[in-house]
């Protein structure tokens, strides 16, 4: 971890807005970020599940990887895709125009350096460019790796000075329809650029980190606050802090980098094998392929699962997992309370023998063994617009 104690925290283009809204702020990924607003985590979580929540995710790392000359159809796309395919196990070359893929950066040993999104622009004149969004806490290293892989073949343009605003929830589409109607036809994991008269060039992606339908919208920094205010004028929208973002993603069964996944985990152990595409498995040409292909064939010693404590007490990150005989079989990697589930929920790694849903587990919390069982992820069904 970077020691941020002596470094002034970075701020996002929405920082003034958070202060005005009375947010409780804390450090996250080197940024001064809103953890919650006046309503509190529970109310913010529930609002997102029933209406629309606005999240400032400008601390993340959006960027563009571009060939010197754009245009040139599939060939240009395959060329730029081949650069990032040196780092990820997904079929980026095979992405359809306008599609976004969730994938992972891997080290030579197959360990996860970060999880990230890679998008192929829909427009012909933008082929040869990729839209890449990495995590906040890892972005300096990620950007360096991607730039190094690109060498002189392509250039990485960081866009993390812009505002990245997520709008999530069942009413997100209706809200966006009034402000960015061009984003409404997007389906889950697709994106497009929109030239807006007031907000400039924005990029709207239909995706999120809550399990709800919604969008993440990249806006020029100077228009970020105006855009967020415009969304917040709608009575269906409330600002939501990182506290509820975490409880929403945990219910959605999604991984938090540095907790549920890190360099010591391969995508197979992390139950993310779906990211390793068929074409890439056949070619075996991604970092750590030897190990990962062997793991796909022979299995792994432990895997990431969902865990449902059967009582009311949450089990937090670091809690030991035992089998019913009291033997240590794993550890909780994130855990807390799921407001929609209305009970404690967790994720963790357990020995592969214990990964079947319904398997009884014990979680050691404050010296006591709490009853729990392996649960199917997600805890709350996803409501994506397919």
């Amino acid at each position: 971890m970077t020691d941020v104690s002596n470094t002034p925290l970075k701020t996002t283009p929405l920082h003034r807005l958070h202060t005005r809204l009375g947010a409780r702020m804390a450090e996250f990924g080197g940024y001064d970020m809103p953890i919650q607003y006046a309503d509190g985590i529970m109310a913010e979580h529930n609002w997102t599940r029933s209406h629309a929540g606005l999240f400032d995710v400008s601390h993340m790392g959006p960027s563009f990887l571009s060939l010197p000359q754009l245009g040139g159809g599939d060939q240009a796309h395959r060329k730029v895709a081949s650069i990032v395919e040196r780092l990820v196990p997904s079929d980026i070359a095979g992405l359809a125009p306008g599609k976004v893929q969730l994938t992972v950066l891997l080290d030579a040993n197959g360990g996860i350096i970060d999880d990230l999104m890679i998008g192929r622009p829909p427009r012909d004149d933008q082929q040869g460019m990729l839209y890449i969004v990495v995590n906040a806490g890892t972005k300096e290293n990620d950007f360096a790796l991607i730039a190094e892989a690109a060498g002189a073949e392509a250039e990485l343009h960081r866009a993390d000075n812009r505002a990245l605003i997520a709008i999530q929830g069942p009413e997100a589409e209706a809200v966006i329809a009034g402000i960015l109607p061009e984003a409404v036809p997007l389906t889950f994991m697709t994106f497009r650029e929109i030239k807006h008269t007031a907000f400039g060039n924005v990029i709207a992606t239909r995706c999120g980190y809550t399990g709800e339908d919604g969008f993440e919208i990249l806006v020029p920094a100077e228009h970020g606050e105006t855009f967020a205010n415009r969304l917040l004028e709608d009575p269906r929208v409330k600002s939501i802090g990182l506290g509820a973002r975490d409880s929403l993603r945990l219910e959605g069964g999604m991984c938090l980098y540095g907790h549920d996944i890190d360099i010591s985990k391969t995508p197979v152990a992390a139950s993310l094998s779906w990211m390793i595409s068929k074409a890439r498995r056949e070619r075996g040409d991604f970092p750590g392929a030897d190990r990962i292909l062997r793991e796909l064939k022979e299995g792994v010693p432990s895997k990431r699962v969902g865990i449902r404590p059967l009582g009311r007490a949450p089990a937090r990150e670091g809690a030991e997992i035992q089998n019913t005989d009291g033997e240590t079989i794993g550890v909780v990697t994130s855990g807390g309370f799921g407001p929609t589930v209305n009970g404690p929920i967790a994720q963790g790694y357990v020995d592969t023998t214990y990964t079947k849903a319904g398997t009884p587990l014990k979680l050691i919390v404050r010296g006591k063994a709490l009853e729990a069982e392996v649960a199917t992820l997600p805890f709350v069904p996803a409501k994506y617009k397919r």
């Binding site: 509190g40 985590i41 529970m42 506290g243 975490d246 007490a313 949450p314």
Partner: protein, 123 residues
């Protein structure tokens, strides 16, 4: 009945040799939505400044310390069944336990309302 406060944001309201203990409004607001409470069993001995109960919010678990040494004579089942009561009425219906004080002299080391309010303002 006099109420005393600790620097760990517990309150104790003393009537005779029994004190009712809870967490302050300041602490409840800092914690956020309480989702789980674990209380000591009735009859258990607790020690001043040692952990006595646990409150968990959506985000984190926190210990609650005993403001005085003594024996637990009652535990508030209502907040175990409905943890949100701690946020709704932390210094009333959201009390945690009653303790029979072993040494009333321990109260002199605690803050009164005015001192506690000043302490919170400086936090």
């Amino acid at each position: 009945m006099t109420t005393y406060y600790t620097s760990e944001h517990e309150w104790i309201s003393v009537d005779g040799d029994v004190g009712t203990v809870g967490i302050t409004k300041f602490a409840a607001e800092k914690l956020g939505d309480v989702v789980f409470v674990e209380l000591p069993d009735v009859g258990k001995s607790v020690k001043k400044e040692a952990d006595m109960a646990v409150v968990e919010s959506v985000k984190a678990a926190s210990d609650v310390y005993a403001p005085v040494t003594g024996e637990v004579t009652a535990a508030n089942a209502a907040i175990v069944d409905e943890p949100a009561k701690v946020n709704e009425d932390p210094e009333g219906g959201g009390w945690f336990v009653k303790i029979r004080l072993a040494d009333k002299g321990q109260l002199t080391g605690l803050m009164d309302k005015a001192a506690y309010d000043a302490f919170c303002a400086s936090q």
